[in-house]
Symmetry: C2
Subunit: 181 residues, 2 copies
DNA sequence: AATGGTCGAGACGCTACCGTTCCATTCATA
DNA sequence: TATGAATGGAACGGTAGCGTCTCGACCATT
């Protein structure tokens, strides 16, 4: 499959160093098979991302805010443990800082994830677990920032055993997004 | 200056795409000026990093834990706002996930930063602002994770005005690293 | 069996960078 | 001022990927 081969090359070399020649070879295809379908590497990559994006949907509301946090972080751990996904994500983050080519792609991914986050916060507010004047942006940065820092920046392979500790601290932090303001 | 040119190329293209030819040209130097001094791009990069690393030292203990957090985050914001540093850091993070070439380099940088963090936590424990059985690793991920997420992953240019909000939440989160365990 | 489209494979000219080598100029020191 | 080391700059052959194009093999439909 061409998409699979693309992601493997992406994870291995980073977006800018992807050689469509290698992608085709890895997929057991001819270069023309790619150029026939997509006008550029960017369009190719957009379609590939869109193809896997659907797998991330499905946020199910839990009983308590803490349960929601746990579910959210567990899903995040699953993604960030994926050997291809974690590399591609980190590469897109780095890539966006130096060029705007992949910005819309990453923006959409982030935005989708954030929608789940907003819904989670709204539920918690409705349950009176959070106050309504919460700084949502700040809260979402606290939701996954520490986990991302641990797994991506420091390369830890966080397990579900570490999850519970994160959940407790995240909950305390986010609840503090209301106080003092 | 060769180092300056290296970092500019690094920020612009990422480590693997650095062309020493361009670095030399950008510095107004000949390619041989680089190859004469360093046997490889890696050694060149190591020296360059080591050269700027000294500027990050100097942790001064404050009155309270909250003051320490504020000082730490302010210093972090300064680095992460730097147009070259932020790109180089994000690139190293991505690069380490796909190759171990830059690992020792990034490990040392992270480790230095973390030493300040540990000292900070120790001070807070000594002051009885934190309990002694604190999970230090977790605490440090919470210290800068959300800020990193905001500035690097989402591209925000956090200002000192946003600092105070982060400080309050980080403090609450880290203090929660003791409770429930 | 004949036909039309898609496929893989590879050749094409082109550009970029590699790491080395050479040379004429510059610069600092004696 | 004379001398020797270091420098900027350019050329070298080699590798790699670009995007286009051609071709024979294969497969499905008729």
């Amino acid at each position: 499959m061409l998409f699979r081969a693309l992601f493997e090359e992406w994870a291995e070399n980073g977006y800018t160093r992807i050689s469509l020649e290698n992608v085709a070879t890895r997929a057991g295809a001819g270069k023309a098979a790619i150029y026939r379908r997509w006008p550029s590497k960017l369009e190719f990559a957009c379609d590939a991302i869109q193809n896997v994006e659907v797998m991330w949907s499905g946020f199910i509301q839990q009983e308590t805010f803490k349960d929601d946090i746990r579910a959210y972080l567990r899903a995040t751990i699953t993604v960030l443990r994926h050997p291809l996904a974690r590399r591609v994500i980190a590469d897109m983050v780095a890539e966006r800082l130096r060029s705007s080519e992949l910005s819309p792609l990453l923006d959409r991914i982030v935005s989708v994830r954030r929608q789940f986050g907003y819904r989670m916060l709204d539920c918690a507010i409705a349950r009176n677990e959070l106050c309504a004047d919460l700084d949502r942006e700040l809260a979402l940065d606290f939701l996954i920032g520490p986990l991302y820092m641990s797994m991506i920046n420091r390369g830890n392979s966080t397990t579900l055993a570490d999850l519970e500790k994160h959940v407790a601290v995240v909950e305390a932090g986010i609840k503090a997004c209301c106080i003092d303001r």
